[in-house]
């Protein structure tokens, strides 16, 4: 066990960011450093929460670094994240709060941590409620994650596996972008937030349009975030297809997909950005999900 922990997060205007961060500190008093990224496009919205966190860190004697990222400069973001995560600070345990972290940022941070440490902990806080009208808009062009873009085979068809959310249009956007020969839709089980009507039934329609669609019922909140289900579903196809993985569903699924690329570096991660988020995205702080991603089993203490 490490005596000191370093936490990495992306600041947000949401309540769960602020309360979740404070709760994490409470659970892990060993956190001595916080690396807080924030996005320029939402700097105004997140300003208040960032100031509160800064105040908290000052009171607590936690070393705080803040770093500005931008949705418009993914390559620059990569360099900033690399410089931050791989700095010369001595090797503590890491806790990555993925709650309000865009998925490509999650994958970039985990990528650099994989090179640096044997394992990293992560935490995700659900909100109490989500906005019923809309959450995000203005989809950007899908892009393969840097250095997690897989090892494609010439002549092989594409298989797209994506966890799905309530926006079937975003799933269709990905399908139009890759024109995969085979599609695996990983749909969250249960009927929370009208999941069956808004997620499952809408995505069933994709079956009537595309010839080769498999629907997988998963649980992104299980211990392994359904990693083993994905691996089983994909193992018979890996040799034949170029596999592309996307996380449009519950955020913990992004951990499972990253884990897949650790075991199968030939698989590619794709990020489907949204350029606009709802200020009233969520309310309150809900259940926490914590876990550990092991990069090198033999060295894990």
């Amino acid at each position: 066990m490490y005596e000191k922990h370093r936490m990495i997060t992306v600041a947000s205007w949401e309540q769960r960011f602020l309360y979740g961060t404070l709760l994490t500190f409470e659970k892990h008093p060993s956190i001595t450093r916080l690396d807080m990224f924030f996005y320029r496009e939402y700097a105004l919205w997140s300003e208040d929460n960032r100031a509160k966190i800064a105040e908290f860190c000052k009171d607590r004697g936690v070393y705080l670094t803040t770093h500005e990222l931008s949705f418009e400069t993914p390559a620059l973001n990569w360099r900033i994240i690399e410089a931050t995560v791989t700095d010369s600070y001595s090797h503590p345990g890491y806790i990555v709060d993925i709650t309000t972290m865009p998925r490509d940022t999650i994958w970039a941070i985990l990528h650099f941590l994989e090179e640096r440490v044997d394992y990293a902990s992560y935490v995700y806080y659900k909100p109490e409620t989500y906005n019923k009208e809309w959450l995000s808009r203005d989809p950007g062009r899908p892009r393969l994650a840097f250095r997690r873009s897989g090892i494609a085979t010439l002549g092989a068809p594409t298989l797209l596996l994506t966890t799905t959310g309530f926006d079937v249009e975003r799933t269709e956007q990905l399908i139009n972008y890759f024109e995969p020969k085979k599609i695996i839709l990983a749909i969250q089980q249960g009927d929370q937030f009208e999941n069956i009507k808004l997620n499952l039934q809408r995505h069933e329609q994709i079956r009537s349009i595309h010839s080769d669609v498999i629907i997988l019922k998963v649980d992104s909140y299980s211990q392994d975030h359904s990693f083993s289900m994905y691996e089983t579903a994909l193992q018979e196809h890996v040799a034949e297809y170029n596999v592309v993985l996307s996380s449009l569903g519950p955020k913990p699924s992004s951990i499972a997909l990253f884990h897949l690329t650790m075991r199968h570096p030939e698989m590619a991660l794709v990020y489907a950005p949204s350029n606009q988020f709802n200020l009233d995205y969520s309310q309150g702080l809900g259940q926490a999900y914590e876990g550990t991603l092991v990069f090198r089993e033999e060295n894990k203490q």
Partner: protein, 578 residues
């Protein structure tokens, strides 16, 4: 779509079985003479316009299949090598992490070169006897020297080259993914050192001594900036005796034509452009004939021997009412032109017959019963996929409703009522897309822009409806040109136009300008929008000229002014017809 249960499948062409593509592709109107030439060709068109089908059909694999099916000799004069660009390999973007532009270009070119190399080898690996026995060892040695790799002499050389290309590309990706850029640069390959010499080597084989190689890149809009510039540089090569490029690209992507050295390639000089979206005058137009052939070929494949018009019969009540409206127009024409020629009467009926039908309909009546081949051809807006889409759903509805026991071949027509039902549903679907917000599905479209585009189309619908009901000269016009465009207007309007184009709600065509004969763009809203709004999707020759300022105001929710032209002005022939 499962197991090919529907003659009107419209999935991505490369995902369809080759036998289906060969069987249903209609060659006559698809520019074969341009493809099978030594010219560089850009095939430009939006999704569903037939670009991929055209390239696939002209690739060696599909031509070989066609020759086998039809028991014809396979000719090697023009050999098409199909190279897909919509692949996870092409979509990699680690080059963005490099700050040196030259190195970015090297890495990008390498992926493209290895893809082309693979597809060349893949094309020939299935061709028995391309390499005669006395040339096998020679070819193996030459390629071993060219690629600096020992190919085994006792194996299919093209399979070995495929394996080599894959090993190279996979090793390269590992280097890039690990951040080992320096080793990657040293391994990078170029077109001039790999592809060009290989083509020249292949020309030395007896069977391929006069072969012209067509390198056919599909979805070239998915290439990154550096790959596009490499491609442009290759297009600029002076000598195209041995090879040429046929490049399929989406129109809305507005490809750039700059080369790696900063020069440019020129339309008409370095390449020619084929617009895959066909202008649509009437069912006797080339697209109309193409549509008919496509439908009939697909029906035959499924054992349905019916003419397209018989399979999609129009509603008889509608035909009767239309004939009555045409008679009314004829009487009006005789009054207008007491000494009129037969052509003048016919033209008058063409212009006003259908408009009179729509004007005669009660405001409280249901929507017109849209049906018939004529209607299907028109609502496709000249895009093949837009033709197949409603046909697919109509067929599915009939087949699903029939229950067990009905085979596909026993479906001998689609009832007009089902045609009308499906057309209205597909029409509503487009408006739902607008209502729900294009920002949900179209990249780089903000919520505000989505609202503006929705308003714009709403006002266009109202505008065209006003014309249909009141305009005396061109009542059924449903295309428009933009006049009075200033740079300020352009900065506001063109992003909205481009969003609508990316959403396939609007198509751009080019035609002669009224004023000075030069070519100008004109805009064709997707005709599938009109049925649910009660408009006539058939349209007529002619374009409404709308001021840019009026379109911008329409995006803000203001009606577009309709200038009502009297019949006298129209008869004086001052107005422009296309």
């Amino acid at each position: 779509m499962k197991n090919l249960q529907n003659p009107f499948e419209f999935e991505a062409a490369a995902n369809l079985p080759p036998e289906l593509v060969v069987d249903v592709f209609v060659e006559d109107h698809n520019y074969t003479r341009f493809i099978q030439s030594k010219r560089n060709v850009y095939l430009v068109g939006e999704r569903g316009s037939g670009k991929s089908m055209t390239l696939l059909y002209n690739s060696l694999k599909y031509r070989a299949l066609w020759s086998k099916i039809h028991n014809q000799k396979l000719e090697y004069d023009f050999i098409g090598i199909y190279i897909p660009c919509k692949t996870p390999l092409t979509q990699k973007n680690e080059h963005q992490l490099i700050q040196n532009e030259f190195h970015m270009a090297l890495i990008s070119e390498n992926y493209l070169v290895l893809s082309i190399l693979f597809e060349i080898a893949n094309t020939f690996s299935r061709c028995a006897n391309i390499v005669p026995d006395d040339k096998k060892e020679w070819l193996c040695e030459e390629l071993s020297y060219l690629f600096d790799h020992d190919f085994p002499k006792d194996k299919n050389i093209f399979e070995e080259v495929k394996r080599y290309a894959n090993n190279e590309v996979r090793a390269f990706q590992r280097l890039i993914n690990k951040g080992n850029i320096t080793d990657a640069y040293e391994a990078a390959k170029s077109f001039s050192t790999q592809i060009l010499p290989m083509i020249l080597l292949l020309n030395e084989l007896p069977a391929l001594s006069s072969t012209h190689f067509m390198l056919m890149l599909d979805d070239a809009h998915d290439l990154n900036k550096y790959q596009r510039r490499c491609l442009n540089s290759w297009i600029a090569y002076r000598d195209h005796s041995a090879f040429s490029f046929k490049i399929a690209t989406a129109k809305v992507s507005d490809p750039d034509f700059i080369t790696l050295s900063g020069g440019s390639i020129l339309d008409g000089h370095d390449y020619i452009t084929i617009d895959m979206e066909q202008p649509l005058q009437n069912p006797q137009s080339p697209f109309g004939k193409l549509a008919r052939n496509i439908i009939e070929k697909r029906l035959i494949k499924f054992g349905i021997d019916k003419k397209a018009e018989e399979f999609f019969p129009p509603n008889m009540e509608f035909m009767k009412d239309l004939e009555a409206a045409n008679d009314q127009a004829r009487e009006m024409a005789k009054k207008e032109y007491p000494e009129g020629t037969a052509k003048q009467i016919t033209d008058y009926v063409y212009k006003y017959g259908r408009a009179i039908y729509f004007r005669n309909r009660s405001r409280k009546a249901n929507l017109p019963p849209y049906s018939g081949l004529d209607t299907l051809v028109n609502i496709s807006s000249g895009v093949i996929r837009n033709l197949l889409d409603p046909c697919y759903w109509m067929f599915d509805r009939v087949y699903s409703a029939a229950g067990a026991g009905l085979t596909i071949a026993k479906i001998d027509h689609i009832p007009a009522s089902i045609q009308s039902e499906v057309i209205c549903e597909r029409s509503q679907r487009l408006w739902t897309l607008l209502d729900d917000g294009l920002d949900k599905v179209i990249e780089e479209c903000t919520r505000d822009q989505a609202k503006l585009v929705k308003n714009l189309f709403d006002e266009l619908a109202v505008f065209f409806r006003e014309r249909l009901l009141h305009h005396e000269s061109e009542p059924r016009v449903i295309t428009f040109t933009i006049s009075g465009m200033t740079p300020e207007h352009e900065s506001v309007l063109m992003p909205l136009i481009n969003i609508a184009r990316r959403a396939l709600l609007l198509y751009v065509r080019y035609g002669p300008s009224k004023d000075d004969g030069r070519r100008e763009p004109f805009y064709v809203p997707n005709r599938m929008l009109w049925p649910i709004r009660g408009l006539d999707p058939n349209g007529q020759h002619g374009r409404a000229s709308i001021k840019a300022s009026d379109l911008i105001a329409a995006a803000g929710g203001r009606p577009i002014p309709v200038k009502f032209v009297s019949i006298e002005e129209a008869v004086q022939g001052e107005l422009f017809n296309v």
